[in-house]
């Protein structure tokens, strides 16, 4: 197993580098991050030229890529525009742990991400837990009543939800639980931010404001998990060993939860592990709609203002997450299913 893990990590390195190269060159093709300053009367063309050069944006793109990896503190630039290089760069490169400086925020990218990531972890955890609990519960419930009207109803609702875009679910949630409830004089849910601006930033406020974004993210996941668990459970429930267990007169609850669900849930582990990076890399649409200050919103802001260092780290973070959790899924898979052995 150790050898397998080691080999997977080695395989992941070129994959991450390729992802990074593609994103890097795509972002470079997107244009000048300081183009918007052309409309600012307080910023002259000389100012823009200085900014571009001091941040290394005037360097040849392949050289910028090298600087992104190994830094530019060994490389001199001509910052006084006299034709002679005079000033060393200040970056150390990602291989030395320097993820760069955000152009928009004028702060280290790690600090900027540090501001947004915890909020995404809160929302992602809430959405993941909700998805797993409700997805599994509904899937099992449905599998135990196959082809009844309840099962058919759940199946229909699952397909409908699964087919809906997240923004529609989010806006429907707002329309029902916020706007309509308020119009009917019922307690209603707030629509924006993590806390009540007039409040004291308490845990209660956070929980209330988590509800709508959590539902928006989790709804599709619940539908997907419910379908997955249902089919997996049906397959297991109809297998020989379950029939044997029933023949032996075992308690039905014990059969379902101990024998059937345990085995049916093994493929679910892969599904959850593969989903985790996406829950924790930010829900772009949901966070924008609900003004949730998370990674998804940071991504959109950085894209709108063209902040390449933040976008690069964001995509790297997501890619590492996908690779890492794929590996974790494989390991857990082998751990829970003795039939699987990696060499």
């Amino acid at each position: 197993m150790t050898q397998y893990i080691f080999r997977r990590i080695l395989q992941a390195i070129p994959l991450l580098i390729i992802v990074n190269i593609i994103i890097f060159f795509l972002l470079k093709a997107a244009g000048d991050p300081f183009a918007y300053l052309a409309l600012e009367p307080t910023v002259s063309e000389e100012d823009r030229a200085y900014l571009r050069r001091s941040l290394g944006l005037d360097d040849p793109v392949p050289l910028q890529f090298v600087h992104w990896y190994i830094g530019d503190d060994w490389f001199m630039r001509d910052l006084d525009f006299d034709g002679e290089p005079d000033t060393f760069g200040q970056r150390e490169g990602i291989l030395r742990g320097d993820l760069g400086q955000s152009i928009r925020y004028n702060r280290p990218v790690t600090d900027v991400i540090g501001d947004f990531l915890p909020n995404t972890i809160i929302l992602g955890t809430s959405a993941l837990i909700t998805t797993v609990i409700f997805g599994v519960a509904i899937g099992v419930f449905s599998a135990l009543r196959p082809y009844t009207w309840v099962d058919n109803l759940i199946t229909t609702l699952s397909f409908v939800t699964f087919s809906m875009p997240i923004f529609l679910i989010a806006l429907l949630g707002v329309l029902i639980f916020s706007v309509t409830f308020r119009e009917l004089g019922l307690p209603h849910l707030p629509t924006s931010g993590m806390y009540d601006p007039r409040g004291d930033r308490s845990f209660d406020e956070l929980v209330v404001r988590l509800i709508l974004p959590t539902i928006s993210i989790a709804a599709i996941g619940i539908a997907r998990y419910a379908r997955f668990v249902r089919s997996s459970m049906l397959e297991v429930i109809n297998s020989d060993y379950i029939r044997t267990a029933r023949a032996k007169g075992l308690n039905e609850r014990r059969i379902v939860y101990l024998h059937a669900f345990k085995n049916a849930s093994i493929p679910l582990i892969t599904l959850i592990a593969l989903d985790i990076p996406f829950y924790f890399s930010g829900a772009v649409v949901t966070e924008t709609i609900f003004s949730w200050p998370g990674m998804g919103r940071l991504f959109i802001q950085s894209l709108q203002t063209l902040d390449p260092p933040v976008l690069l780290v964001f995509t790297l973070f997501t890619a590492v997450g996908v690779v890492l959790f794929q590996l974790i899924a494989d390991i857990i898979y082998a751990w829970v299913d003795p039939r699987i052995r990696y060499t």
């Binding site: 300053l37 600012e40 009367p41 307080t42 910023v43 002259s44 100012d47 823009r48 200085y50 900014l51 001091s54 925020y105 004028n106 702060r107 900027v112 501001d115 947004f116 909020n119 519960a137 099992v140 419930f141 135990l144 806006l171 707002v174 639980f177 916020s178 706007v179 308020r182 307690p187 209603h188 849910l189 707030p190 629509t191 924006s192 931010g193 993590m194 806390y195 009540d196 601006p197 007039r198 409040g199 004291d200 209660d204 406020e205 929980v207 209330v208 404001r209 509800i211 924008t288 709609i289 609900f290 003004s291 949730w292 200050p293 998370g294 919103r297 940071l298 959109i300 802001q301 203002t305």
Partner: protein
């Protein structure tokens, strides 16, 4: 299964209970107002002159003088608006005196030394390397501290626009804080004040400034909290706390307003006004801004083709006829709202000569001008004048006028994708049909429409005849951008940076504009300005459609809307600098 059902029911009950708890209002002793803001500034740099940085700054970082939406300049930190004098060397000296007793929000006195620090930072790039300083270093020759409250700024040569924002002196750096940083680090690049990021607590000294409020908390991605500045010398604000809530999504901003999560929403689009107006306890109003949406006409020989009306638009009479054919006042009222004017000139109204005429809606006059220019209604199918009195008649079957076999048809009428502009396009197209002018409506992405000649922009390569968009005029200066209005600005292979695709070319105008730039304020300059306004007007390549307005929605249960209406600015015009005069709702 019963357990699972119980679990589900309990979960739903828990969610409902939490929702109820969250919806219950918390009793407040202090007066708080929450303003929805669509963009979060990246940091609080005074040199970061981004629009939404300016929104925050209007609470805590005021200037020596500010200006109202009527472009009236009034002193804030300065004791009075300074006047300029010419020195023996031919330079422009402006002596500014600060009001007595001014204090920063930490109680330290504001002196000329603070203003001198600002000057030093703007003229010494090493002190703050990452931000721009515009033309200030080239414009300003010297800065001299006269005494604790007085200083003199000397500009190179004759410099009449010393009150304009770009090169005006400012006093936004608290010297007692920043000099220590400069002494220790040699630069302000890494000063906490400027690096953005969340913080909490006024004692950190992060945002010491001069204004009615001071920023005490910034939760990144969520909002900022500002409290009253106890050292502010102006009117004491009625609201103890102002909370800026960052809501980037328009729909959610409306929902937040509807649900009472925010008390003020501003800078939203015209088409959402009915939705805001229908909200309970919400009053809406708009404040006229400084920019105008206008109909631009390609008036020169570049772009002429028989396919698109031939040389018609080169004739000033045809361009004037177009203005007379459109009921601009009626359209502004119908499409935008009551009280929205159609401007006479591109210049701010305070600069217009009193006798500058507005080209009224006059279909008969338009037809007469077209006849005079040789464009004739050959088949006589244009409707009678009394049938098109409203300005919105259906003239879709009218055939275009002709001149020597060339039809006044297929004029390429371009604009960007924008509901209001596209509506304008339709009604203008219909109005022009009523006088025998046929248009071909086109919607073009802004990046293509406004691209430079080198990047093959629609305007700069003359792939248009009529265009609808806004071009900003610097609200405080009567001079023009040479690239956009001088003969030398007409784009071509030799002049790819030019942005005068309307081809307005009047050598006398170029000369007058240069004279305005080199004449200090006074009667002589006023005369030159009047001449420039008239010359540009007589080019008839620009017909104002509507002065752009900034919409506000105000929760009348929290604040008196009238007091807000009288004390807010518009886009690029001081936003909330009058907030201390807002009155809470009774």
């Amino acid at each position: 299964m019963k357990n699972m059902s119980r679990f589900t029911v309990l979960s739903v009950l828990l969610i409902a209970a939490l929702a109820l708890g969250g919806a219950l209002a918390t009793a407040q002793d202090e007066r708080v107002i929450v303003i929805g803001v669509e963009q979060e500034p990246p940091n609080l740099w005074p040199l970061n002159n981004l629009t939404f940085g300016g929104v925050v700054e209007s609470f805590y970082g005021l200037d020596l003088w500010e200006w109202s939406v009527d472009r009236e300049i009034y002193p804030v930190m300065a004791a009075e608006i300074p006047e300029a004098v010419l020195t023996d060397e031919g330079d422009t000296a402006v002596t500014i005196t600060l009001r007595e007793g001014l204090q920063w929000s930490d109680g330290t006195a504001i002196t000329s030394a603070d203003c001198e620090l600002w000057h030093r930072v703007r003229t010494t790039p090493e002190l703050a390397t990452k931000y721009g300083r515009g033309s200030y270093p080239e414009d300003v020759k010297s800065f001299e501290v006269v005494d604790d409250l007085t200083f003199t700024v000397t500009y190179n040569g004759v410099f009449p626009d010393y009150l304009a924002a770009i090169s005006q002196p400012e006093c936004k750096y608290p010297g007692h804080i920043f000099q220590a940083i400069l002494d220790a680090e040699g630069s302000l690049d890494e000063a906490t004040y400027f690096t953005g990021g969340g913080f909490e607590g006024v004692e950190s000294g992060i945002t010491v400034g001069y204004g009615p409020y001071v920023v005490t908390e910034w939760n990144i991605g969520e909002g900022m909290t500002l409290v009253k500045n106890e050292f502010w010398q102006g009117n004491e604000p009625a609201f103890d706390r102002v909370i800026l809530r960052f809501i980037t999504d328009d729909v959610q901003k409306r929902n937040a307003m509807r649900n009472g999560e925010i008390d003020i929403s501003f800078n939203w689009s015209d088409d959402t006004q009915p939705e805001y107006a229908a909200m309970e306890n919400v009053e809406t109003f708009s404040v006229l801004g400084v920019y105008s949406d206008a109909l631009w006409i390609r008036s020169g020989e570049n772009g002429v083709s028989a396919e698109h009306g031939g040389e018609a638009l080169m004739d000033e009479r045809v361009r004037r006829a177009i203005a007379h054919a459109i009921n601009r006042v009626f359209f502004a009222e119908q499409l935008v709202g009551p009280g929205i004017p159609a401007p006479t000139s591109w210049y701010p109204s305070v600069l217009w000569p009193e006798d500058l005429p507005f080209l009224e809606y006059n279909v008969a006059g338009a037809r007469a001008l077209l006849d005079e220019a040789g464009w004739v209604d050959t088949d006589g199918d244009e409707p009678a004048v009394e049938d098109v009195e409203s300005g919105m008649a259906d003239c879709s079957g009218v055939t275009p006028r002709e001149n020597d076999g060339v039809a006044l048809a297929n004029l390429r009428f371009v604009t960007t994708e924008n509901t209001l502009r596209n509506n304008y396009q339709l009604v203008i197209g219909e109005a022009l049909s009523c006088v025998g002018i046929g248009v071909d409506i086109q919607i073009i992405p802004a990046t293509t429409l406004f691209a430079s000649f080198a990047d093959r922009g629609t305007l700069t390569t003359y792939e248009w005849d009529l265009a609808l968009f806004a071009n900003s005029a610097d609200p405080l200066t009567p001079t023009s951008d040479a690239d956009s209005y001088y003969c030398s600005g007409i784009p071509s292979d030799e002049n790819p940076d030019g942005f005068n695709p309307w081809q307005f070319c009047n050598p006398r105008y170029d000369e007058v504009d240069q004279q305005i730039r080199s004449t200090l304020p006074g009667p002589e300059r006023d005369e030159l300005i009047a001449e420039a306004v008239r010359l540009k007007f007589e080019g008839h390549f620009w017909h104002g459609l509507r002065l752009r307005n900034t919409w506000f929605a105000v929760n009348s249960a929290v604040v008196d809307p009238e007091s807000v209406r009288n004390n807010v600015g518009t886009l690029a015009a001081n936003w909330f600098t009058g907030i201390e005069n807002w009155v809470p709702a009774e």
